[in-house]
Symmetry: C2
DNA sequence: TGCATAGGGGATAAAATTATCCCTATGCAA
DNA sequence: TTGCATAGGGATAATTTTATCCCCTATGCA
């Protein structure tokens, strides 16, 4: 989400959403924030597969896109809390729908995804 | 979607959906197929920003993930038609919801996305 | 033979996204 | 004085994803 060399294409709603939601951890971040995990360290605990750095970067993008807002408390040790903006809230049902579809089809998706064409031999 | 070095994480529904829907043109492909644009050349016309090759690759992945099915007619010149599987159909409402949210918030999204932090100077 | 059609796909380059590493700062506890 | 917790960020490497290039199939027709 830096300066792109390939021009953005923002033709339809789908493209627009992509711009703000395309990011490996973004939907999960929004979701966990919605669940009340507001502090960076909490989010990090919820999503241990991502590094702290990466979460920061994606949180920053979500913030730039006005989906979340950030409050920095001037205390030591530092304390930061994120929360959904109204705009971000409006996206929750959509994310919910995506997640539900995934949950509903979990078994099937899992097997489809793991069913790589056999030729993975590598040890 | 090749052999990954970084392990997949398939913890929740959201991750699973990501695996099959994460791809720059995938949702649009599904959407256009749903609209009745079944042949590769038609899809290409609908999505001129993507090269033929790229669409083929993504179509192949959608097919591998059982969201679409492909029929090759043994005629010359070749004729191919894609259609949504039942599984793919079940995803349409979700994609619809995403697109609607995007459409509803088009103006806002557009300005947020284009409002890069000013320091893009480049000539 | 040459071209058009409709579709495929390998190899490789480029771009975008993620991950890793290391460093900053404060105040308190050992 | 070192260590820990909390949060942030630059630089750079690794990975993944997209794009570009070029060539191939087969038939029918000029």
């Amino acid at each position: 989400m830096k300066n792109r060399k390939i021009p953005l294409n923002l033709n339809c709603g789908l493209d627009l959403v992509g711009e703000v939601l395309y990011g490996k951890w973004k939907m999960r971040l929004l979701w966990f924030i919605k669940q009340g995990h507001k502090r960076p360290s909490e989010l990090q605990r919820q999503i241990p597969d991502a590094s702290r750095r990466v979460l920061n970067v994606q949180l920053k993008e979500l913030e730039d896109h006005a989906l979340i807002s950030k409050v920095v408390y001037p205390v030591v040790p530092p304390k930061v809390e994120y929360s959904l903006t109204e705009f971000g809230e409006s996206l929750i049902p959509v994310i919910g729908a995506i997640g539900e579809w995934g949950d509903r089809n979990e078994a099937r998706l899992r097997s489809l995804i793991l069913a790589k064409p056999v030729l993975d031999g590598e040890a």
